[in-house]
C-alpha cells in the first residue's frame, strides 16, 4: 500500500492530498441531515420496531411475550377479516390504479393542447386535489346520497336505475374507486411535465411520415411517457394499498365488511382491540406486499419503459 501511495505521489507531485469528503459534499450532507435524521428516526425506527413487535403479543397495557410466528400463523390461518380486508384492498388497487393512470393521462393530453384559457382548465382539474381528504370524503358522502345526491340525479336524468352507492355492499368499493379519480390532479401534473419534455422533432418525424394523431400518440407520446407512467404507477399502487381515510370517514368498513380496507382493519386491531403485536404483523405483511408489487413493477419496467435517447 505504501509503495502505491508513494508511486502516486511521485507521478502526480502537484496533486493535493484528498480529503475524505469535499467541502461541497459536507455542506450538502449538513443541509440534508434534518431529512436524513427524520427518515431514520421517524420512518426506519418505527419500521424496525414494527417488525420486532410483530413477533410479540404487545398490547401496550399488559406484559409482552415473544410468540414467534404465532401472529403470522393466525393471520394466514383463521383470520377471515384479514382475507376480507386484503381482498377489498387489492380489488380497489387493481381497478383504481389503471383507471387513475388512464384518466390522468387523458386529461394531461387534453390540457397539453394550445387552447384558450388553458391555465384555468389546468387549475380547475388540479383544485380538487388541494381539498383535504376528510373534506372531500364529506362532499362525496353527499354526492352519493341515494335520495338527493348528485349521482342518482344524473342517473335519473338519463332514465337509469338509481344506485345505493356506498350504502350497498355491492357498490361500495366501486363507488370509492370512482371517488379516487377526484384526486388525480398531481398525477395529471406529472404527466403534463412528462409531455412537455417530449422533443417536438419526434412528432415532426411522424408527421413527415404521414402519421395521424393516433400514430403520434402510439409511437411517440406513450413510449416517451413510460418513465412517467412507471413513476405514477409505483406511487399510486402504494397509495391505493394504504387507503384508509375514505373508509374510515364514509363507510366505517360497511355495510357488513364490504369496505373493510386493510388499513382500517389494522387500525381497529391496534387501537380498538389493543392488539398492537398482531397489528404490527398486519403492517409487516402490508409492507411486504407493497415491496413485492413495487419490485415487480421495477423488474418488468425494462420491457416497457423507454428512456428516450439513453438506451
Amino acid at each position: 500500500m505504501s509503495s502505491t501511495a508513494d508511486l502516486q505521489t511521485a507521478t502526480v507531485p502537484t496533486r493535493k492530498r484528498r480529503r475524505w469528503i469535499s467541502s461541497e459534499a459536507m455542506w450538502g450532507l449538513i443541509c440534508v441531515s434534518p431529512a436524513i435524521l427524520g427518515f431514520l428516526l421517524w420512518d426506519i425506527g418505527p419500521m424496525i420496531a414494527s417488525i420486532v413487535l410483530s413477533f410479540s403479543d404487545w398490547s401496550v397495557t399488559g406484559t409482552t411475550s415473544w410468540i414467534g410466528t404465532e401472529n403470522f400463523q393466525r393471520l394466514f390461518g383463521d383470520d377471515a377479516l384479514f382475507r376480507q380486508s386484503a381482498q377489498v384492498t387489492l380489488t380497489y388497487a387493481f381497478v383504481s390504479v389503471p383507471l387513475q393512470i388512464i384518466v390522468a393521462m387523458a386529461l394531461a393530453l387534453l390540457l397539453n393542447e394550445k387552447v384558450k384559457g388553458l391555465p384555468i382548465f389546468r387549475t380547475i382539474f388540479y383544485v380538487p386535489s388541494t381539498v383535504p381528504l376528510i373534506a372531500s370524503s364529506m362532499i362525496w358522502l353527499w354526492m352519493y346520497n341515494p335520495d338527493f345526491g348528485l349521482f342518482n340525479a344524473v342517473l335519473n336524468f338519463f332514465g337509469l336505475p338509481e344506485q345505493q352507492w356506498i350504502f350497498s355492499s355491492d357498490t361500495v368499493v366501486l363507488s370509492l374507486i370512482i371517488m379516487s379519480l377526484w384526486s388525480i390532479g398531481p398525477m395529471m401534473i406529472i404527466f403534463l411535465a412528462g409531455l412537455t419534455a417530449i422533443p417536438q422533432h419526434l412528432y415532426d418525424a411522424v408527421s413527415v411520415d404521414g402519421g395521424n394523431v393516433f400514430n403520434r400518440l402510439w409511437t411517440v407520446t406513450i413510449p416517451m411517457l413510460t418513465p412517467t407512467i412507471l413513476f405514477n404507477l409505483v406511487l399510486s399502487v402504494i397509495t391505493s394499498l394504504q387507503t384508509f381515510t375514505q373508509a374510515y370517514v364514509m363507510t366505517d368498513g360497511g355495510p357488513g365488511n364490504a369496505s373493510l380496507f386493510y388499513g382500517l382493519y389494522l387500525y381497529r386491531t391496534a387501537f380498538q382491540q389493543g392488539e398492537f403485536g398482531y397489528a404490527a404483523s398486519l403492517a409487516v405483511v402490508q409492507f411486504a406486499v407493497i415491496v413485492v408489487l413495487s419490485l415487480l413493477v421495477f423488474r418488468t419496467s425494462s420491457r416497457w419503459v423507454h428512456y428516450g435517447g439513453d438506451t
Binding site: S50, G253, I290
Partner: protein
C-alpha cells in the same frame, strides 16, 4: 397511514427536477424517487402500528409537577359545555381541598383512546380518566388501573349507589370503577306533530307502555310524504317522505339492548359464553327495527340519516315526530327554545325495559396518591357539585336522587326537563333498568363487536338480508370469541 394528499404535494417538485436533468439522470431519478417513495410509504405503514412507542410496561415516571399538595391529572372528553362544567367542578374540589390539586386535562372525543394508549406507552398515564368500557376492562386486566375495591367497600356511600353502577372484574372480586354518571333510554316526541295528528302523547308510565304494534301504528300516522299523506294511506309515497315517524339507530346498543331485554333476550347467555343476538328474542327486535325503515317506511335509512341533521334539529324543523335516544339528549332538546318536546317510555315487546349505562372513571395504578384520587372520585357523585346533571346530560348514580323528593329536585330542573321527567327518568330508571349493558361484563367485547356484531348490524340497517340470516352469520364469527364474563 400516508395520506394521498401528503404524498401528492411532494411529487410536482420532484418532476421539476426531472425536467431539467439529462436522460441518464432522469432514469435514475425516476427509479430513485419512486423507490424512495416506496420506502417512505412502507415505513409509514409500519410506523402506524409502532408510532405510539415501543414501551411495553414501565413504572410510573417521577413527575416533576407533583409536589405538595398532591396533584392529580384528570383526563376527560366531552362537548365544550362538558369541558367547562368539569373544569368548574375541579375548581370547586380544589377550593375545598387545599391539600389536593386536580388538574383537568381535556382531550377531544375523536382519538381519545389513541391518546390514552400513547400516554400509557409513554409511561405517563393520567391519574384519573374517563374511559370507554372496552379499554377500561383491558387496562384493568393488565393491571394498569387501580383495583378500587378497598376504597369502595369502606365507603359508606357505596350501599347508596344504584345497582349495576359499580363495574367489577376478576370474577366480580375487583372494582374497576363506579360509573361517572348514568343515562337511560327513552322516547322523545314532538308535541305539535302529535297535536296536529290528534294522537295521544306517548305513555310516561312504564306499566302503560305501548306494545310494539301500537308504536308502529303511531309511527305510521305521524310519517308523512310531501303530499301530506301519512303512512297508513294506500297512496303514501315512501320515496318522497317529508316527516319521519321515528329515528331509531338499530346499530346503537342503548337503542337495541332495552328492546331485546324487553323481549326476553340478551346480548350474551350462559355466563357470557354463548352469543345471544341470533336468538329469536333478539332477532325479532332487529327485524322489527329493520321493518320500521324498509317495510313501514317510518324511519330514515342509514343513507338518509347520514345526510340529515341531528334529531333535535329535525324535530325543531317539524321533520321528525319521535326519537329513541339516550337521556343525555335532554341537553340538546332543552336548548332548542322553538321546540315543544316531551318524553315517554319506550315501546315494549313482552315487558317494559330501559337501559342504564354510564362511563367508567378509572384511577391509574401508577397514581401516587390513591387516597386523594378516591376523595375526588366520590366528591363528584353529588349533582349539586356539577351542572351537568341539571343541564340534562347526566343522571346521578346514588339511589337517594331517585327516591327522595328534595334530592330529585336538585337535578330535575323544571326549566330544563319536561314535567314527565319524574316518571320517565326517575321511576323508569329505578324500576325498569335492571340489566347490565354487555360491555360491563362480556369479555372480549371489542373483538366481538368489531368482527361480528357491527358488520351484521350495518348490513341489517342497509337491508342486505333478514335479521336472522345476518345474525346467524355474525354468530359464527362471534361464538369463538366468547370468553365468558368479568363477573363470574
Amino acid at each position: 397511514m400516508v395520506d394521498s394528499n401528503q404524498k401528492s404535494t411532494s411529487t410536482p417538485a420532484q418532476t421539476g427536477s426531472i425536467k431539467q436533468s439529462s436522460t441518464v439522470t432522469r432514469r435514475r431519478l425516476l427509479h430513485g424517487s419512486a423507490a424512495l417513495a416506496g420506502s417512505v410509504a412502507g415505513a409509514s405503514v409500519l410506523g402506524s402500528a409502532a408510532a405510539s412507542g415501543g414501551a411495553i410496561r414501565r413504572p410510573a415516571p417521577f413527575n416533576l409537577i407533583r409536589q405538595d399538595p398532591a396533584e392529580l391529572v384528570f383526563t376527560y372528553w366531552g362537548s365544550p359545555q362538558e369541558q367547562e362544567a368539569v373544569a368548574q367542578m375541579t375548581e370547586g374540589f380544589n377550593a375545598e381541598h387545599p391539600d389536593i390539586t386536580v388538574r383537568p386535562q381535556y382531550v377531544a372525543n375523536d382519538g381519545y383512546s389513541e391518546k390514552m394508549t400513547t400516554m400509557l406507552a409513554g409511561g405517563n398515564p393520567p391519574d384519573l380518566a374517563y374511559m370507554g368500557a372496552d379499554m377500561a376492562f383491558q387496562w384493568a386486566l393488565d393491571g394498569q388501573t387501580l383495583d378500587l375495591s378497598p376504597w369502595v367497600e369502606d365507603d359508606p356511600e357505596t350501599p347508596t349507589l344504584l345497582d349495576g353502577t359499580t363495574y367489577r372484574y376478576d370474577d366480580g372480586t375487583k372494582v374497576l370503577s363506579t360509573s361517572l354518571a348514568i343515562s337511560n333510554t327513552l322516547l322523545y316526541y314532538n308535541k305539535p306533530l302529535f297535536e296536529e295528528a290528534e294522537i295521544e302523547a306517548p305513555p310516561v308510565d312504564a306499566a302503560s307502555a305501548w306494545t310494539w304494534d301500537e308504536f308502529v301504528e303511531v309511527c305510521k300516522l305521524l310519517t308523512k310524504d310531501r303530499d301530506g299523506r301519512n303512512a297508513t294511506d294506500p297512496d303514501f309515497n315512501a320515496e318522497n317522505i317529508d316527516v319521519y315517524g321515528v329515528a331509531a339507530n338499530l346499530e346503537f346498543g342503548p337503542v337495541y339492548m332495552p328492546l331485546i331485554w324487553s323481549n326476553g333476550g340478551d346480548y350474551a347467555l350462559d355466563g357470557a359464553t354463548e352469543f345471544g343476538l341470533n336468538k329469536p328474542e333478539a332477532v325479532e327486535v332487529f327485524q322489527r327495527l329493520q321493518d320500521l325503515i324498509y317495510v313501514h317506511h317510518v324511519a330514515p335509512t342509514p343513507a338518509q340519516s347520514s345526510s340529515l341533521p341531528s334529531s333535535d334539529v329535525l324535530m325543531r324543523t317539524g321533520k321528525l315526530a319521535m326519537d329513541i335516544n339516550g337521556m343525555w339528549k335532554v341537553l340538546d332538546y332543552s336548548q332548542s327554545e322553538e321546540l315543544e318536546w316531551g318524553m315517554g317510555v319506550l315501546p315494549m315487546f313482552k315487558e317494559p325495559h330501559t337501559s342504564r349505562f354510564g362511563i367508567p372513571l378509572i384511577v391509574s395504578s401508577a397514581c401516587e396518591y390513591p387516597d386523594q384520587a378516591y376523595e375526588f372520585y366520590r366528591w363528584r357523585y353529588s349533582p349539586e357539585r356539577i351542572d351537568l346533571y341539571e343541564q340534562g346530560l347526566w343522571m346521578p348514580i346514588q339511589s337517594s336522587y331517585y327516591t327522595e323528593e328534595d334530592k330529585i329536585s336538585q337535578w330535575i330542573d323544571p326549566d330544563v326537563f319536561p314535567q314527565e321527567a319524574r316518571q320517565v327518568l326517575v321511576d323508569y330508571t329505578l324500576n325498569y333498568a335492571t340489566k347490565q349493558m354487555p360491555e360491563y361484563y362480556v369479555k372480549n367485547m371489542a373483538a366481538i363487536q368489531n368482527e361480528a356484531v357491527e358488520p351484521a348490524l350495518s348490513a341489517i340497517a342497509a337491508n342486505e338480508g333478514t335479521a336472522q340470516e345476518l345474525l346467524d352469520q355474525a354468530a359464527e364469527t362471534a361464538q369463538p370469541l366468547m370468553q365468558g364474563s368479568y363477573l363470574a
